[in-house]
Symmetry: C2
Subunit: 328 residues, 2 copies
């Protein structure tokens, strides 16, 4: 038995993070099934994996139940950028909640370990800074972002209930802003936006005065945390969180280095000295968080992990990806 | 057409509030269908309605889709007391979210008007006092109450999305503590608890020091607000909330009169002079809100409504109900 490859399912595995994770797990020798409806994911993210015999692509919507015997299920399915999730808010909140429910029901029946990717958006527009995992958040239930924020909050609550009621082995993380190759070029996130605008010689759009801050995590750092977390025995995870007075496992995973949006824009332009872009300013969208930075003390303690890739190191790799994409 | 009775569906119509509403709507000449899985509702609440030809009882779980052509759908299905919803947290959050989704899908297909009963629990343990509708709340996504609180928050977000995306005519209220005849005797709420304990000659249990405050609304006041709200034309509702800068219709409905739990206990004992109960104290449960009081300015302005039944008037009627129940 021990020589058989580990079997992993990744919902949303054709998306930015999911496709990176699939590649990693395949490199480590696992069998990987990617389940994706390609609403925001793209098959081009996994072209290079399709001829790997340990790889399976399943075109399926997580809102419909699914089945399979896996050792590990990674739940990554959900449109994650405002531009995408606001295109179909009802679908977004259904994916978040019902997709989670279908994932947990499958894990319950098959005793699979579940990795759930929650988000710093559960903190909303925070009034505590930086945000520890015990912060309850500040979220509008009725605003234009609520399909995502409240969908993700309800998914967390659902995980907590499956853990408490049924003992399902769920590990949650709250991902803060993450960037890198394979980001969707038109998802409206600030890193991809700025790079794409600069590469196309367009002006760079800042919302508000550009002084709102964000933390930017390079994709490789996120993947490191995910793999370290999933490798721990169930008992270790349970004891660690119980010891911290937390009812269920949840870790912030992000880069605490804080940059203003304007600093990011200037760094992109510095790395693309031939770009003729200028900075232009637009009004801040409704409910846009003004500041967000992860407190990662818990992840450091449990995983011995911290982000290693600085923005100055990660940005050029991301720029390179987009440059290649546009030159195709 | 105008002489045909109005057709109303009440999900959770065998519960405390639902059964009162069914009785009211029947008295007004409507055809009423009650949909209930009797998880916390009780058929005894609607025994007196069963022989009314305009009444239909449908034993059904809102988590499964349902169908019917109705003018008005009242979504009241959800275990609402901590003792009930913590008995089956997974079912509770599913009922809240998927029940709402099925309700909205039916309304979308049939152009029915929807009344959704949300709850003051969406405010959690509030750090603003009293709570206006624009307050975002303070809720733990992972605590023992989150199945209810986050389920209800996600249901609100879902309503907001169906309103924005599809123009469904949804009116939401956030109900604050409500009491009256037909409350479940063992639902663990403070009013029924105290009355039942006193009637049975048991000591009255206070959690914490008894100085946490609550507002108590008599059932008739709640029903008045519901009927006034549902009688308004869609355009009136839309314009009113738009005029207040609110994206979707939501009203606090409760009694702003504030009492400590201890005052309530003393009032019950005063009304039952033969009871030999004493007050005893137990530790406060996790995440129990310390204070909650509705700001009802919006409901006053839109409906010309305010609560009329004081605690001194409503308590005796509730005591009388429980006395009869126990003497059966």
């Amino acid at each position: 038995m021990s020589n058989l490859p580990k079997k992993c399912l990744i919902t949303g595995g054709a998306g930015f993070i999911g496709s990176h994770l699939a590649r990693r797990l395949l490199n480590d020798g696992a069998e990987v099934t990617v389940l994706d409806n390609l609403f925001t994911g793209s098959k081009s993210n996994i072209y290079d994996l399709l001829d790997n015999p340990r790889f399976t692509f399943l075109m399926h919507d997580v809102v419909q139940p699914f089945w399979g015997q896996f050792d590990e299920i990674y739940n990554l399915a959900c449109p994650a950028s405002p531009i995408h999730y606001q295109r179909n808010p009802v679908e977004t909140i259904k994916v978040s909640f019902i997709g989670m429910m279908n994932t947990l029901d499958l894990a319950l029946k098959t005793k699979a370990r579940v990795f759930h990717t929650s988000t710093s958006e559960v903190y909303g527009d925070p009034d505590v800074h930086p945000q520890p995992e015990t912060y309850w958040g500040h979220v509008n239930t009725l605003g234009p972002r609520s399909c995502y924020d409240e969908g993700k909050r309800a998914a967390e609550a659902l995980c907590a209930d499956y853990i408490r009621e049924y003992g399902v082995d769920v590990r949650m993380i709250r991902i803060f802003n993450t960037y890198g190759p394979h980001m969707h070029p038109s998802d409206g996130r600030v890193v991809s936006n700025f790079i794409v605008q600069a590469l196309q010689g367009k002006n760079i759009t800042l919302y508000g005065d550009g002084n709102q801050s964000r933390s930017f995590q390079y994709i490789d750092d996120l993947l490191n945390a995910m793999q370290l977390y999933m490798a721990l025995p169930h008992s270790t995870v349970k004891e660690f969180f119980a010891g911290h007075g937390m009812p269920v496992p949840v870790l912030n995973v992000g880069n605490p280095g804080e940059f203003t949006i304007k600093e990011l824009a200037e760094m992109v332009l510095e790395m693309l000295p031939n770009a003729k872009s200028k900075l232009i300013y637009q009004p801040l969208p409704k409910d846009d968080p003004k500041r967000r930075r992860p407190d990662i003390a818990l992840a450091k303690e449990l995983l011995g992990w911290e982000p290693r890739v600085t923005l100055r190191e990660g940005l050029p790799k991301t720029i390179e990806y987009f440059r290649t994409l546009f030159n195709k």
